[in-house]
Subunit: 298 residues, 4 copies
């Protein structure tokens, strides 16, 4: 590993999608993995997608108990740009010598049929899902007093419904294969714990409050089902991603300013949190990590 | 007032709907109002609908500052059965001599177009809405590990989307008429504050966590807009309504048992909470009332 | 009732103390009670003490189920100034024709021995306590990075320890007399639910977070003990009392400014909340009322 | 490193105390450190004390940005048994070849004067404190309805007052040496976030709710002071320590049973959380890690 890939992609092409990462050589020491930076691919996909393949999820799986004696299948939802979606990205991963295989799925997460088809294809082609990371999420700048219903609905569809559907499908996939040490990780937000006085994220905050409840409810149901599958959410403050550019898609300057006022969390900080959570011993369930940029005030 | 009306209705006919209560004689002392019990109409509609007309909302409006020198229009969403929906109910109210006029609207709250049509009709016929009580809400018994998407979506549509749409429309109605002392009340739940180990209400709990955030976000936006319109949620534990019968619609015995184990909150307890909140002086904003049956353990 | 009493008192004389209100004529209709304003006595004592005797606690007990067929003894802790402490206040109450008798106790609430002596005297002289309102509370302006330990300890002693001791003693008093419908009300704060960026109230906020937990723990223990005694907290935002004058005792202008920026909650708003909570039917337990001035932003 | 030390100690000797760990060779790769288990020393001291010296805090400091070009001084409070308190432990650490020097301080944390003397000695002898871990904490089995005041006060003194005093002293130590990248870590509890129906931990829960507020208040004050010092709490569920033996000191069987029903968190799981938090880049502030045993139900 080491050299840079430079796929051409653009934020305008991004949409919520999903990746499946098949780790073919579990147990690879993390020191053999390297960090690659992807210069273009905006949004949370940077966190755990391309860049994350080396340093993030790849490493996470390499150290995860899941990978000791079997292949592991990690499902990850996120913003995926068109150019990263094709075989090009997978080929680059392969040529870079990563210990895992990237299998991108194109999927509109706001469409349940597409999600179900994807999980069906995953089952047919790759057995199933052992780890599910519900990372796709978005905000639309629609205040409660004046917002457009369509923007609210989009947030509900991706942040709440898709999370719930993927969680259920991933759990059923684990259950039918008797996976007892799976993991479901919801990327939440500090907005899922307190409501800040910014009207453009109020409805978003409501969807993330729902994620807080969904994660705890999931934990309880997993206990009731007597499995050791773990449920976690990670609740970041301001992360430098394409999030603000999606939020303020008519005002890129405002979006950029969001990330310039303080030193923000980075994609790899999120990846490190995921690694920490996944690599904890099976008897340790991290329920929530609340993290902010050190300089963030509210 | 005093005699009993006995409209024929049945729980099977109930669906989320809305009532508009026009108070024609504001300022009527609450001692002139009487409590009527409605023997059939299940569900939360009992709280503030028929029964509430006398003792609940009627009284609330009678003592509310809103009613000092003008007509007041109160919008209330709830479960409404078909038989209560027609002119029969309104006629009974009139003949009973209530100081307000009940104007029922038939409206599928999970359909935005119907909500918008209703608010448009309210504007044309009755000026607008001064007080909005988002009471309609439901649970479907769909756990997170195995639930049906459709049940989840119904909960989202009524508990989150309809609340948000009605709130926005009510606020816009207040704004265009320069109403500065309006009130928006969301009927939340103790499930909106903590997640209890009952898988059948986990998704419901997520929708109510969203309501918690929506109410606080609304409060902040109302402050930012420099109005004195108030935002409140009321968070009950177990209330004896048709809720459990809707939740366990295939298992009425289980539903009935829900209300027999302890002495539950009653419809009028909810009405009294609404009265307390509405009748507080304009400078007092009750943000949340958390209330449980005294005997409720969890 | 009606004429004004004007005891001479001064904020400098105030200290945490307690009142016992003996309601000799329970069931007196609240319409026979009148509101009196006390012009001098600063602090939360105004809420439920003197002024409250007519309109607040007196009314509350008059409508409380507790008072149907027996004397009721209400214990109330608050800031009490020296001049109000003596027989003068009690005499004024009597001559004003209130339906209850005020029995002031001088008690340093930060001294457990004094509290125990007081409860012992209450038992000997007046049977015991049926309703306990833990209202005494204070803030000292000691930030976490630089505060004086003594100020922190004073807050702990009054806001946490005295609340816990009075609660235990009141419960034991109810238990030994087989009172099953008692009530313990803790005056909490919105600072008990979220931490606002004002360093002078950070430690205070920690003591009020403790009160939030104490109230819920109390509720659970009362259920476990199979009683119907109720546990409530009331969580106000900014109330116009002597609180700020105690907080900024070196800077009365700053204290005064606290209450001038917005239209604050008043003593009677707190009394009304207590009345609402106490007069709810025995099967209704209000766990928390969160209330702010309508104009309060944070 | 590698061989086992077997200091003789006993739980009866344990009391809240403090250790200062001086890392003389910062930057030592964690791979050169090894895990040692201490067979006797009960309680949370196992987490980060002896055992932690190799694998826990030592490693944490070895990877912490703090240690790049200077000595680092880490202050840690915990349960320390008499036998571990003397020079014996320090000598063993030295002979084991650890890259840090252990400097035990005997200190009754419930006595402010002793704390101040300790910090004064630390200043004179070792410059000051760069990282402060407030780990000492305890529960006494005193329910709210019937508990002894003394048990409550002990919990307040150690869990709230000592945390606050050590935090203030540590911050002042950082401030006077212009340390901008210090860290204060409070060991909180899941009981600091929700109240569970176990009366023996209700007051304990109140003290931990206070810690939740103290940590967020601290974060805000550190931002207001424009430093990059970080504030973190870690909130574990059931950890296998001496905690239950202290709680049920009259009933060791009950204490032991606490840890046998499920597979608990271990001391090293706590150490790993501390390492994760400390080794995050300076711009990343982990505010809270909520973690439970995977099998823990409530």
């Amino acid at each position: 590993p080491g050299e840079e890939a430079t796929p051409s992609c653009d934020i305008g092409d991004c949409s919520p999608g999903a990746l499946l990462v098949l780790v073919e050589r579990p147990g690879t020491p993390s020191s053999e993995l390297s960090v690659r930076s992807h210069p273009i691919c905006w949004g949370m996909v940077r966190v755990l997608g391309w860049e994350g393949l080396g340093a993030g999820l790849g490493a996470a799986l390499a150290v995860s108990p899941l990978t000791q004696d079997s292949l592991s299948f990690l499902f990850y939802s996120g913003w995926v740009c068109a150019a990263c979606h094709g075989p090009k990205l997978a080929a680059e991963c392969q040529s870079a010598g990563y210990p895992g295989t990237l299998i991108p799925y194109k999927c509109d997460l706001s469409n349940e049929e597409e999600i179900l088809s994807m999980f069906s294809a995953i089952k047919t082609l790759h057995q199933g899902v052992d780890v599910c990371i519900n990372n796709a999420g978005l905000a639309r700048p629609e205040p409660l007093l004046s917002g457009k219903t369509e923007g609210w609905r989009t947030m509900i569809d991706v942040n709440v419904m898709a999370v719930s559907i993927c969680t259920r499908e991933a759990y059923q996939s684990m259950k039918e294969r008797n996976i007892d040490d799976g993991h479901i990780i919801n990327i939440n937000s500090m907005n899922g714990h307190s409501v800040v006085p910014q009207s453009v994220v109020h409805f978003y905050s409501a969807t993330k409050y729902a994620v807080t409840a969904l994660t705890e409810g999931l934990r309880q149901e997993l206990r009731e089902a007597r499995t050791h599958i773990r449920a976690t959410c990670i609740s970041p403050g301001l992360v430098e991603t394409g999030f603000a550019f999606k939020l303020h898609d008519n005002d890129p300057e405002r979006a950029a300013a969001t990330y310039e006022s303080i030193r923000c969390l980075k994609a790899e900080d999120m990846a490190n949190a995921v690694i920490y959570v996944l690599s904890a011993p099976p008897h340790v369930q991290i329920g929530d990590i609340q993290m902010r940029p050190t300089e963030q005030i509210s």
